[in-house]
Symmetry: C2
Subunit: 217 residues, 2 copies
């Protein structure tokens, strides 16, 4: 696995963010509209031709493979391609995890039509995906790096699409293992809980810079 | 949860599929291109304006809320909005689960840039999401409906982006519980295994039509 260093200033990061965030938001709208549209066949075919032209424009210059995970010289993470939190990834809702003072990681986010499984509800796999990310983030909230060993999700009831809340925190440490617990809630309360076992790599021998740890996934 | 009945013929389903599948494929290309593009700022802003116009065209007539899960009069499932398998959902890779004669469910699929977590690798949450779906499908491969109680994923090593394989099957039955096991593999072998406990609803009192069961999620 290779992490990419980009030696750019905070101002340049802000500039790129203001360029890419609205583009990604437009692609998210398009994903939703393509699922829900009921316009006539000719309009759909016309829109499709427009999109193919847009793809061609964007692909005129592009990275060779996936986006990767990039850092600035002062170790500010830019996991902008990430499937759950990436600001350039339209698949990401996006979730924006926030680290609280007590080490709990929380996130408020919205899941629309694109995340549906059972009618009107989030796909159980999407619930698991988001819990995996939030638990991973919470697992490294003590600034000791770790990777996911196992994660178990218990589904209490279907999760309604709409505004949701997730939270997780380390509940136990045992040698190189950390146990992390978390949950997802909709407006009616908890819908799924999760427990993960996270492993500190043998190679680890010192504290990581704080900012690098928020980019697990 | 409400399932929607659409009384349409096989020919009409085929017609809609041939209209929506290419549109969704174009949106998938766009998601990838938006992550990887390195074109200049003006081109990006121009593309974004084009996309916003396309969204407006598609939204001129659309379903009120999410797509839902629809069935034809002969119970052919059309989970076209589904986040993992939906043919109208650009977030779906899509995975196309196939039920084998022995009850095993398998799927070959490709994950590109949009599913990245660690550099060059699938997000652990995406791995969990796909396993959740495949296990759910396998859990109802005996035509006895069930919902996911718990799912546990064990990560053996990072999953490389690219062509992947998933499989799952029921390994044990105990009253209203079914135990399902599965895994995901990349070119180098198994990267994650999963076990799920699936529960047959108390209300169940007879076999379900076979075709309805392939739409779990």
């Amino acid at each position: 696995m290779e992490f990419t260093l980009e030696d750019i200033s905070d101002a340049e990061i802000a500039r790129r963010r203001s360029l890419y965030e609205p583009l990604t938001e437009s692609v998210r709208e398009l994903i939703d509209a393509a699922i829900r549209t009921e316009v006539d066949d000719d309009t759909i075919r016309e829109v499709q031709r427009t999109l193919d032209t847009a793809v061609q424009s964007l692909r005129a210059a592009q990275t060779d493979g996936p986006y990767g995970v990039r850092y600035t010289a002062d170790l500010q993470g830019m996991p902008w391609g990430n499937a759950v939190i990436g600001l350039r990834n339209a698949i990401a809702p996006p979730v924006r995890p926030e680290r609280q003072d007590d080490g709990t990681v929380t996130a408020d986010f919205t899941l629309g039509s694109a995340y549906e499984g059972p009618p009107g509800c989030a796909h159980g796999g999407v619930v698991a995906m988001i819990l995996d990310h939030i638990l991973g983030d919470a697992g490294s909230a003590d600034n000791v790096p770790c990777y996911t060993g196992t994660i178990s999700v218990r589904y209490l009831r279907p999760t309604a699409l709409g505004t949701l809340h997730a939270q997780a925190r380390i509940v136990e440490r045992d040698g190189r293992k950390k146990i992390v617990r978390g949950s997802i809630s909709d407006a009616e309360g908890e819908t799924a809980t999760a427990e993960g076992v996270f492993i500190v790599p043998r190679s680890w021998d010192g504290p990581m810079p704080r900012r690098i740890t928020s980019t697990e996934g």
